[in-house]
């Protein structure tokens, strides 16, 4: 049985009776058992997966109604809550935390009979872009296990890329879906802010982050988006997409579309292989009938600084609740006064989270907010204006997803600034709320290179159409694991 199969093909095969869900899920679990020692994508595996698959087979046989996923094995980033399952955020702080409720995306996927094969690795509380900041050890890039898989949704990208599941849900605060998708050669999607409910996604920087699918194909992403997007009374920031069907018309092409090439994202610091791949992508877009022109987004040069200032501020507040009083890990309270207890309890946070907590305590504080936090908000608003202006002239923006090739494990872990700069091409979509996608495009020495497309707010359908068109020009090699 071939596990290298798209979500849509999986559904088709199950529907036509060519494969049984039980067989496929059992094979998937076997695959996890075989390769995950090396890759470490999973933090926990759902032991009931096969039982659930068997049940769906039964229902298919007896002609009962079965949801659109037909038992598709999906992995879930460990910052998205599944009822009665451990949700650790790859942190020791939540080592034993079991969520008493389902995230909205989980509720929706359960209704469509998806099977959650397991929770996958990430940088602790989604802070990082390599998974090296997971408290449970890094994941490895299936294309070369000496290299990082990207992050923070590294486990999601690895599990999709290495056929340990058919699709995955990650979260994207500054590129955390698109970055690992690019490094591991999968599709990674960050929707328009508010398109997918964040209820049940453990907040890192809530004003800019979104849950997003990681899949093998652009169509699979559209399929997933159909299932999980839309208004949610539990998330006041969700937008009404009127039950948009992102799959219908996805093949219309990009004839006549105008595409802007973001100058600031193909300049200094870019790897030459990444640059040439980007140029190749531009010429393919043109050959598909689009016109490309270079445009400048002046504020991009401040975007990473603004991004880290804003996210640290929000993280400082969002992670304040982890005082170990109501839930957390085993650490008795007796004999402590509140403040001394929590400062001790919070020592379980890893180094990157701690670094950002410290920054988050400083940049919005009285006397410093004007210099840092408020200035960052200004950059955010100016950048948004710039991007809005750009979308008056062009339909889409193109850039490499990440300016560099996947680097080696340990290579940048002690150099936070150079690590931060890897985010330069992805944070703009988060700061402006725009949708963005990374698709597998090229390879250099066996390491994947992704191309990013960005569209205006609520133009998710157009974005997927363009990504699909470009995807059709690419042939992927087999993952070497």
């Amino acid at each position: 049985m071939n596990l290298n199969i798209s979500a849509l093909d999986f559904v088709q095969e199950v529907k036509t009776g060519n494969i049984s869900v039980e067989d496929f899920v059992a094979k998937t679990i076997e695959r996890i058992q075989n390769v995950d020692d090396k890759l470490h994508a999973f933090l926990s595996v759902n032991e009931k997966s096969i039982d659930q698959a068997r049940d769906i087979d039964k229902r298919i046989k007896s002609g009962d109604k079965v949801g659109d996923c037909f038992g598709m094995p999906i992995s879930i980033k460990d910052n998205i809550c599944i009822k009665d399952s451990k949700t650790t955020c790859a942190s020791k702080m939540l080592e034993n935390y079991v969520s008493p409720y389902d995230a909205t995306v989980i509720t929706k996927l359960k209704q469509q009979d998806a099977i959650f094969v397991g929770k996958v690795n990430m940088d602790e509380f989604a802070m990082g872009l390599t998974t090296e900041f997971s408290a449970y050890g890094p994941s490895k890039n299936p294309w070369n296990i000496e290299h990082v898989p990207g992050g923070s949704s590294g486990g999601s990208a690895v599990s999709v890329s290495a056929f340990e599941c058919v699709a995955s849900l990650g979260s994207d605060t500054g590129g955390s879906v698109r970055n690992p998708a690019s490094f591991c050669s999968t599709v990674g999607y960050k929707p328009t802010y508010g398109l997918i409910s964040r209820f049940g996604l453990i907040s890192y920087a809530n004003s800019i982050e979104q849950i997003g699918p990681l899949t093998r194909t652009v169509k699979d992403t559209a399929f997933m988006l159909n299932l999980i997007s839309g208004l949610d009374p539990n998330d006041n920031t969700t937008i009404d997409n009127k039950n948009e069907d992102y799959l219908s018309g996805i093949e219309v092409g990009i004839e006549g579309k105008k595409i802007g090439i973001i100058k600031e994202m193909i300049g200094e610091g870019i790897d030459s292989e990444v640059l040439s791949a980007t140029k190749d992508a531009i010429s393919r877009l043109e050959s598909l009938g689009a016109t490309c022109e270079e445009i400048s987004l002046d504020m991009v040069k401040y975007s990473v600084a603004a991004y880290y200032t804003i996210t640290a501020t929000e993280a400082g507040s969002n992670l304040a609740r982890y005082d170990n009083l109501r839930y957390g890990y085993d650490f008795p309270l007796e004999g402590y006064e509140f403040n001394s207890y929590i400062s001790k309890a919070r020592k379980k946070f890893g180094p990157e989270v701690t670094r950002r907590m410290i920054i988050g305590g400083f940049v919005p504080s009285a006397g410093h907010a004007g210099k840092y936090f408020l200035k960052a908000l200004k950059v955010k608003s100016k950048l948004t204006n710039e991007v809005n202006e750009a979308f008056k002239r062009v339909d889409l923006l193109v850039s490499p997803t990440v300016p560099v090739l996947p680097f080696k494990l340990g290579e940048k872990i002690d150099d936070p600034i150079s690590l931060f700069l890897v985010d330069i091409n992805t944070v703009t979509a988060n700061l402006t709320g725009k949708p963005a996608i990374s698709i597998p495009f090229a390879y250099s020495n066996g390491l994947p290179i992704g191309i990013q497309l960005m569209a205006d707010s609520s133009q998710d359908k157009l974005l997927l159409q363009a990504a699909y068109a470009l995807e059709q020009t690419v042939t992927l090699p087999e993952v070497p694991i």
Binding site: T87, S317, D323
Partner: protein, 468 residues
């Protein structure tokens, strides 16, 4: 000059659910930590789900206190660690980056004095700490989160008060207004709380916190003024600080906590989008507002000729004015007002008594009508009222059971009148020369009938038999 300012917190007790989740706003009826959910417990991944009704109610308060209301309402996070706060930040409002709290500058009159309102904001109440253990050594702190997330309106005043009495009068008026708006029941334990800022001429501002009741607030302010004046008279500097009200010793005590130094790192709450308050919405809210206390009072005076003082009492207490509105007619209004303010008031002056009372507006209407038609005397009506409060029985049954009905049978009453005339010959002679004194004889008849004689009939019979 003494300057006192207040920060009043009022729970919107009449709402069904908490500010950001479906748990009950009326947390009081729950066992400890039974009125909680992932949202008000701040569990990982939960998001606030704004109670739109709370925004409306808070806006109505702002309107009633003559505050400006913004076009857009925003929420902010106030960041601080405390065990009663499940998220370790409070979702509240802030006007530093433009006026976005539910209410801006306003004012209310306390007698002839205008008290200015600085702002009104909507926020969440924290949980409740319960201390156990006898000494500080073995003291443990327990937390009950049932209250966490209850909608709370904070009303901040300018330092316009000069005496503790003014403070007390203001708070009485304010709680009447809030009750009249139907947004809160200020008589509920803990529903209304206040902190005070006190400063005297030449001294710094001192904040007093942890004051349990309005009664204690007046005491605390009084104590604080005396304390500061005493320091001042001895040339001791009055420093800016936060003090706590020690309920047992009835004094204020300096807080050792460094609350003034706390930096709350306020920033916009991204999980709650800005709320648009356009003129249309505001107009609609305005039209839905209940009649104000002052308008009620004016109406009672001009329409029913109810005396000003009676109208004052009647209009300012929602319980009384609701009773009045439900039971009065054009003809019995004055009598209804009378019964409420002279007979009923003393019997239902506390929340507990009101809850225990079985007296309804129907009873009130029947009682007033029966007095007016002579079925029952005013005197007997008091006995009937007592009985109804306890039992909730129909007035007619009560009259029968307790034999409270007026003696309105003419022949029966006529006999009694004849008897009185024969016994009181001196008074009869007096009444002949001075008809005013006939009331003495009416009183005698009343005595003989234990107050049940129909007064009008009695008077007529007396006049007829004496021949005046």
């Amino acid at each position: 000059m003494t300057m006192i300012g207040l920060e009043i917190h009022c729970q919107l007790t009449n709402l069904n659910s908490k500010l950001f989740c479906p748990c009950k706003a009326n947390y009081r009826e729950f066992e400890i930590n039974e009125n909680i959910c992932p949202i008000c417990m701040g569990l990982p991944g939960s998001l606030p789900r704004l109670n739109q009704e709370a925004v409306k109610k808070a806006t109505i308060i702002a309107m009633a206190l003559n505050c400006s209301t913004p076009e857009k309402i925003a929420f902010f996070r106030k960041n601080y660690f405390y065990p009663d706060s499940p998220k370790n930040f409070q979702t509240t409002q802030l006007n530093i980056y433009g006026d976005t709290s539910v209410g801006g500058k306003g004012s209310i009159m306390v007698g002839d004095k205008k008290i200015r309102i600085t702002r009104i904001q909507l926020e969440e109440d924290p949980g409740r700490l319960i201390y156990e253990g006898s000494s500080s050594k073995n003291q443990i702190t327990l937390v009950d989160y049932n209250r966490a997330g209850t909608p709370l309106v904070e009303i901040v005043t300018e330092p316009d008060f000069e005496t503790p009495k003014e403070v007390r009068d203001f708070l009485n008026i304010l709680s009447d207004i809030l009750a009249n708006l139907g947004v809160a029941d200020p008589s509920l334990e803990g529903a209304m709380r206040a902190d005070a800022n006190v400063s005297i001429e030449g001294g710094k501002k001192v904040e007093i916190k942890n004051i349990g009741s309005f009664h204690d607030l007046e005491k605390a302010v009084h104590f604080e003024i005396t304390r500061q004046e005493s320091l001042h008279s001895r040339d001791i500097e009055i420093i800016q600080e936060t003090r706590h009200w020690d309920d047992k010793r009835k004094i204020t005590v300096s807080s050792r906590s460094k609350e003034e130094e706390l930096d709350y790192r306020y920033f916009l709450e991204g999980d709650i989008p800005w709320i648009q308050m356009n003129d249309e919405i505001k107009k609609k809210l305005q039209s839905e507002m209940p009649e104000s206390i002052s308008s009620k009072k004016e109406r009672y005076i001009s329409k029913y000729k109810i005396p000003s003082q009676v109208a004052d009492v009647l209009s300012s207490d929602k319980y009384y004015s609701d009773l009045f509105e439900e039971s009065h007619t054009d003809s019995n209004a004055k009598e209804v007002a009378n019964i409420i303010t002279t007979d009923l008031m003393g019997l239902v002056d506390t929340r507990e008594k009101r809850e225990a009372s079985k007296f309804t507006s129907t009873h009130l209407k029947e009682l007033a009508d029966s007095i007016l038609s002579g079925k029952i005397s005013r005197n007997s009506s008091k006995n009937a009222l007592h009985e109804i409060l306890k039992t909730g029985k129909d007035l007619s049954d009560v009259i029968k059971e307790l034999d409270l009905g007026n003696v309105s049978n003419e022949s029966e009453l006529s006999g009694i009148v004849t008897q009185v005339i024969s016994e009181e010959s001196q008074a009869v002679e007096q009444a002949k020369s001075n008809p005013q004194t006939i009331n003495y004889l009416v009183g005698k008849v009343m005595q003989k009938t234990k107050g049940k004689a129909d007064p009008t009939l009695t008077l007529n019979l007396l006049k007829k038999q004496i021949g005046v």
